[in-house]
Symmetry: C2
Subunit: 333 residues, 2 copies
């Protein structure tokens, strides 16, 4: 099947009864980015608007790699919600489970872009984001079970009914390979609640855990990458992926294999979205059945490419771009 | 005193101990406007950011007419708050009473621009706007009493502690001429509360009431302009100003005089902000001691000018522009 077919907005019609390669469940919103890097937010005069939200970005990243993807999320009943659904379809992401919530506006997020490593975010998700109104009873659990990869996030656990919906979907997978839990720890969304019991519950149903070092510390209590990976395996997954930023990526499998991939030397413009590009490419590698080493190197390169670009969703790389960067990075070996 | 002096950012130093011409109390936020008119919000790709909020716009409008103005309001403790304070100062509006609230982000408002008469707004002021955290104990009531004109708004009554602060400031005026109450009715901010008792209380302390026909209906129960004006006079003010949109403006004074000004024929680009330009110019006329007829005609022209422009705050007209439009409109008489 060609990439053009896969990314077609008509995918829902063409492949109505086949399972999705990937179903992603979680955050969706509008990102408002300065059109110039290095300008503090109080001096930014014009903003570009982009599709955003970690889960949505992972879905877009995988769709761009030719995968058949659907998102489970919610928006406000407003023009920004209309935009997001249309944009997802344009990117080839199925939106049948992206529904409207009348009570809350579509979230918007402003960011400041200070390369290479400072990208503060300003969230407008109050009093509640529509994507936290995902309800257990409204999920298509057959589709969730049937997906070749299912991806849920820690943010989905921060409020009800999204928490029950997310845990219910993970449980419905019955430990099926591949069930990914993205630790996605955003302290601002949790107020004074303790995330630990919910993270532990999610990890029991997942086969893959992905997180950066801060997120691993929340889930496992340690900032040591190897120790954190071991704890994640102990919590129930078979593959633990620890993103260490400038230190690269560590992946440890229950079978004893492990991979440590150094970061690629790229000129970072906007680090936001790199983790989501990594996630989409990780799913692609899992679906392809690639060896762990190839999958993590490839995902690492996908993240690096997005970091060189201002946008997140629209900047998600195509497979050929990732191959080319890896070829360049290894000196054409 | 020259206009240049009046608009100087050094005004606080130069005139530290003189009373303000105008103190405005109320809403302040960031407006995000499409850079092209006629594009629905779900299709807008880039937004310009502007100073917004009805009270802030009235302050800017009066400052641009050479008046010494200060705003009483609050912002979040964030980069948008920094921007708003700097922008107010650039416009010549004193910001000593524009303070930060740590708990809430600076509000942002998106708008759609469908000339000539459809300008939907999308407010992000949840869970609470910082400007509703104005507190009675933090007001400089001597300055409020000393101002030659004091301006408060109905939105200031929609939540505590802003309600007590607004009513306290109005009461502190002791019926001094001129104390303006801008009805400023925004149903979205009131939830299920009944505004009537608070509006009645505010009007008892005001000498001028200003509102459009919807707002007058909330305050008085009638949509008939003359009947509404009569009710407003009965509620305590000496001057009632009813903005009727395409029907022009009706102003009725307790002394029996009244003025009806037809709308000016202009090509409307964005009607938002026209009412605030009207308000700033109304204050200018009151301060100048102009006859009612001249004041209302002039304020009407100021509003018409802003309606021909995309922005609100930065589009507030200078006195010479208003004179010129009136001269053109009367065929150069």
């Amino acid at each position: 099947m060609s990439e053009a077919q896969q990314n077609s907005p008509y995918e829902n019609t063409l492949y109505e009864n086949t399972p999705y390669d990937l179903i992603v469940m979680g955050r969706l919103g509008v990102d408002l980015y300065p059109l110039k890097a290095g300008v503090p937010l109080d001096r930014v005069e014009t903003f570009g608007r982009f599709l955003g939200g970690s889960a949505a970005n992972v879905a877009v990243a995988a769709a761009r790699l030719g995968r058949r993807v659907a998102l489970v999320s919610r928006t406000g009943a407003d023009p920004f919600g209309v935009y997001l659904r249309r944009e997802l379809e344009t990117f080839g992401v199925g939106v049948r489970w992206v529904t409207e919530v009348a009570a809350y506006p579509t979230p918007v997020t402003f960011c400041e872009v200070f390369p290479p490593d400072d990208f503060p975010l300003y969230f407008y998700r109050q009093p509640k984001a529509p994507d936290l109104e995902m309800r257990p009873g409204e999920l298509d659990l057959d589709a969730v079970r049937g997906a070749r990869v299912f991806w849920a996030t820690g943010t989905g656990l921060c409020a009800q009914p999204s928490r029950d919906a997310t845990l219910g979907a993970l449980e419905a997978r019955g430990g099926a390979v591949h069930t990914v839990f993205d630790l996605d720890w955003r302290p601002a969304f949790w107020m004074d609640q303790d995330p630990h019991p919910y993270y532990a519950q999610a990890l029991r149903h997942a086969t893959v855990a992905v997180g950066n070092i801060d997120e691993c510390e929340i889930a496992t209590g340690t900032r040591d990458p190897h120790a954190a990976a071991k704890e994640l395996l102990g919590a129930g997954v078979e593959l633990a992926v620890v993103k260490q930023g400038p230190e690269g990526v560590l992946a440890v499998h229950r079978d004893g294999s492990s991979v440590r991939v150094p970061p690629l030397e790229v000129k970072v413009l906007n680090g936001l979205g790199a983790g989501d590009a990594f996630g989409g490419a990780l799913c692609h590698g899992l679906l392809a059945g690639w060896p762990l080493d190839r999958t993590i190197r490839w995902a690492n390169a996908a993240g690096a490419l997005v970091a060189t670009r201002l946008e997140c969703s629209s900047a998600m790389p195509y497979a050929a771009e990732i191959d080319r960067l890896l070829l360049l990075a290894t000196g054409g070996e």
